[in-house]
Amino acid sequence: MTAGLQVRGLNKAFGGLVVARDISLDLSPGDRKALIGPNGAGKSTFTNLITGILAPTSGSIQLDGRDIGSLSEAQRVKAGIAKTFQITTLFHSLTVRDNLRLPLLERRGLTARPFRRAAGDGGVEDEVESLLQQFRLTDVGDRVVQRLAYGQQRLVEMAMTLALRPRILILDEPAAGVPSSESPLIAEAIAGLPQDLAVLIIEHDMALVFKVAARIIVLVAGAILTEGTPAEIAADPRVRDLYLGAGHG
């Protein structure tokens, strides 16, 4: 048995339009990989295939040697694959603490209990506090999420996803829309993620990618163009032409 996520020969086509072409990828515990590519390269299609929102045309996805291709989105969450969302899907009218409590309670299967106090049930409070600390959110713990700064909302997003205790974490543009002044916060938070977690970052902010990723995969037109260390990628002329040279990032 191999620990982690193994993707082999993944293809996805909408009619004649091929959006994923023979993608293979490994994510092992402790990995810090980034997926980059120009707009329309198929990055979000790829994550949707992994999390189960889309079904592949062919290819296999295995978690710890077990095929998870037939599992639903919610089942894959329980199996250990989690993805941060677009910011609009936070619980905006709830406090930061409640936002963290919900996934923690759900992980323990307690959200059907009607007569306990949510704050304090199931021994989740310690975990709430340590997540708040980890993401430096303790001071704003009782604030309603929609009143937070954008960068902090992204941190809540990450903390919530981490609360599900995934083994595979997919960060979908964690710095999107975050003003550059708050960007170091995000990098710091990623650096502080548990060591044994397998992390895949999808991001436009190249400074961030080069800071946090150990390996970078370049996706173009639904297929992997190349994979390598940040230094290798930075030196690759094809990447310069196709991506960096085009002025993105």
């Binding site: 919610a74 993805k83 996934p103 009607p114 007569f115 704050a119 049930d121 599900l164």
Partner: protein
């Protein structure tokens, strides 16, 4: 504890009303019963974010169940309430199986359709329900075998206030529970709840059933206090007015349901006695004022005023 203050205020207001308006107890009792109905709507609409115009389906079923139970089985008021709540819960559970999968206009129409079907059934089986004439001949026994329903309506009022108090306490606990938190999460973002692995539809059916039980309870109280159940308990107007009262007061926090009901019914009562032919102008303007001026309801009024004052400074 600060969180106990609203409960104390509620009791003080209830007692004060009893002594200040000793001759309006019948009206006050109707206000209290309507409050229970609006509370049931707050749970499903205010907390879980399910827009429904069909709360009358459960209210009416609770009323008929309690009425029939009192006539044919036992005239004990509390047992009647339990039967009414059960009837409301059953109707909500069964209809919830398909309602909780719909959204938007489709959901609104389905909730209306369920209510209309029930009303038509009650009309059809007039041998049992009394049809258009109403289900009469309900005679209630003493509350707990001790207090008789009196002519002035003192017992009826105190009884209703006690039930209201219990309902508020129970709903407060439920909203503060993991289940309640999950409902608030669903109200904010059902997609995210699914993403963290919550069986959203199952939670919604549970919430709708609980809401139905409370609405059925309100219907049962109405049946007991009027001693007659008419087809009007299934009126669309009832569901629509409950929604107006809830939004007027402010959603999601229970107290809004109480304040909205009290204000709406008082305005309705005063406006329709001052000028019955044109009171609809007053209600229409009131509704529009809420939507445009205080979208978060009367509960949000202090915040709005604060913001306004801050801007003036």
């Amino acid at each position: 504890m600060r969180s106990l203050v609203p409960f104390v205020v509620m009791l003080v207001v209830a007692v004060a009303a009893f002594y200040l308006f000793p001759y309006n107890l019948a009206f006050l009792t109707r206000v209290v019963i309507t409050m229970i109905l609006v509370l049931s709507l707050d749970l499903i609409l205010g907390v879980a974010g399910v827009s429904t115009l069909g709360q009358a389906a459960m209210y009416g079923s609770g009323a008929y169940a309690a009425g029939l139970f009192a006539i044919h089985v036992w005239h004990d008021p509390l047992a009647g309430l339990a039967v009414g709540a059960a009837a409301g819960a059953v109707v909500a559970f069964v209809s919830g199986l398909f309602l909780t999968r719909a959204h938007g206009l489709t959901l609104l129409m389905l909730t209306i359709a369920v209510t209309e079907v029930l009303q038509e059934i009650a009309n059809k089986f007039s041998a049992i329900t009394g049809g258009t004439d109403g289900l009469g001949g309900i005679r209630m026994g003493r509350v707990l075998g001790i207090w008789k329903f009196d002519f002035v309506g003192r017992t009826g009022y105190i009884y209703a206030v006690c039930v209201l108090f219990v309902v508020v306490v129970v709903l407060k606990i439920v909203i503060g529970s993991p289940f309640g938190l999950a409902l608030r999460g669903i109200g904010d973002s059902p997609a995210r709840m699914r993403a963290i692995g919550t069986p959203v539809t199952r939670r919604l059916i549970a919430a709708y059933t609980l809401s139905g039980a409370v609405a059925g309870l309100a219907g049962a109280m109405a049946a007991q206090s009027t001693a007659l159940v008419s087809l009007g308990v299934y009126d669309f107007q009832l569901s629509a007015e409950a929604m107006i009262m809830l939004i007027l007061g402010g959603t999601g926090r229970l107290w809004g349901a109480l304040i909205g009901t009290a204000v709406f019914m008082t305005v309705h009562q005063v406006a329709s006695s001052v000028d019955p032919f044109n009171w609809l102008f007053v209600i229409g303007l009131l509704v529009l004022a809420v939507v445009y001026a205080v979208p978060r309801g009367l509960l949000g009024l202090p915040d709005e005023v604060k913001r306004l004052l801050r801007r003036l400074k």
